[in-house]
């Protein structure tokens, strides 16, 4: 392929962040339907930060040909509903259960997106989840990143998946 043709393909290709958002929406719907028995309705993504305000933020990092992270951002009530749906009668309001359940959901979302990116030729590893819980905090991505906030509704709850991608447009 000539250099000119290569450039044309690169120009026509959607930005990687948009490709990842398309995958992220599909896998998030599938994971909530399969593991939590909840339908989640996707809203309109916005391609800028900051991370949405939330009480529970579960983050999984990417490193490799793509680097960045995905965060699942939910309220305490939504996190508790997710934990109870995942664990059934074993769930209670113990913070450890709620944290772990949200971490596992983020792990499944990030891992499934990672698999779809691997199928596109990307070589990416994922971290284990980190979960931050609180009532008055925010996080900010470093400079020179692509970002996307993907809003979902789970019943009356609003939840967000926040994607940050470093070094790739």
């Amino acid at each position: 392929m000539s250099t000119a043709a290569t450039k044309a393909v690169a120009t026509d290709a959607p930005p990687m962040v948009e490709v990842m958002v398309a995958s992220l929406v599909d896998v998030t719907r599938d994971i909530f339907s399969t593991m939590v028995d909840r339908a989640v309705e996707f809203g309109e993504p916005t391609f800028k930060g900051p991370q949405p305000t939330a009480n529970v933020v579960a983050t999984v990092g990417y490193a490799g040909t793509l680097s960045g992270y995905i965060s699942l951002c939910v309220s305490h009530d939504a996190a508790l509903e997710i934990a109870q749906a995942l664990l059934g009668s074993d769930a209670d309001e113990a913070p450890a259960h709620v944290r772990d359940a949200c971490g596992e959901m983020a792990n499944m979302i990030a891992g499934s997106v990672r698999t779809s990116m691997a199928d596109r030729g990307e070589n990416v590893g994922i971290s284990t989840p980190i979960v931050t819980v609180g009532t008055d905090f925010s996080t900010a991505a470093l400079r020179d990143v692509s970002q996307a906030v993907c809003p979902f509704k789970m019943g009356t709850h609003s939840l967000f998946v926040y994607l940050v991608l470093q070094g790739r447009k």
Binding site: D30, I31, T34, M35, A83, L86, L87, G88, D90, A96, H97, D100, A101, G103, E104, N107, M108, A110, G111, S112, R114, T115, A118, D119, I126, T128, P129
Partner: protein
């Protein structure tokens, strides 16, 4: 039948253990990573091992390689339950010694089918 369930997520271990109990497999042992699982294996050989891939200390393929290096565990069926589902991942897992693969998210029916397949007598 005894099943060793290895996953750093207590949520995922609980989901798997609950599904196994519904199948009548009450005898389960849990471990949070590969190293903890190897210590559990030193205390007794299970009939099946169910393991995650992405874990701290020792990941799934490293754990399975360590399992297969022990003659007493050479034929113990291993099911990997993971989001790591790219073709290259499956090859790595099979080369490490995994017998079967279940991709997250999964239904209880899918886990049941995999466990039954691994424990079916020839």
């Amino acid at each position: 039948m005894r099943v060793l369930v290895v996953d750093d997520s207590s949520t995922m271990r609980r989901i798997i253990v609950n599904t196994l109990k519904k199948l009548g497999h009450e005898d389960t042992v849990e471990a949070g990573d590969g190293k903890e699982a190897l210590r559990a294996l030193a205390a007794g050989v299970p009939d099946v091992i169910v393991t995650d891939w992405n874990m701290p200390e020792m990941n799934g393929p490293q754990f399975v390689e360590a399992v297969r290096s022990q003659p007493a565990l050479a034929k113990t069926p291993v099911l990997m339950v993971t989001t790591q589902a790219a073709k290259e991942d499956v090859i790595v897992a099979l080369q490490a010694g995994v017998n079967d693969y279940l991709i997250k998210p999964f239904t209880p029916e899918a886990l049941k089918e995999k466990i039954n397949s691994l424990t079916r007598k020839p």
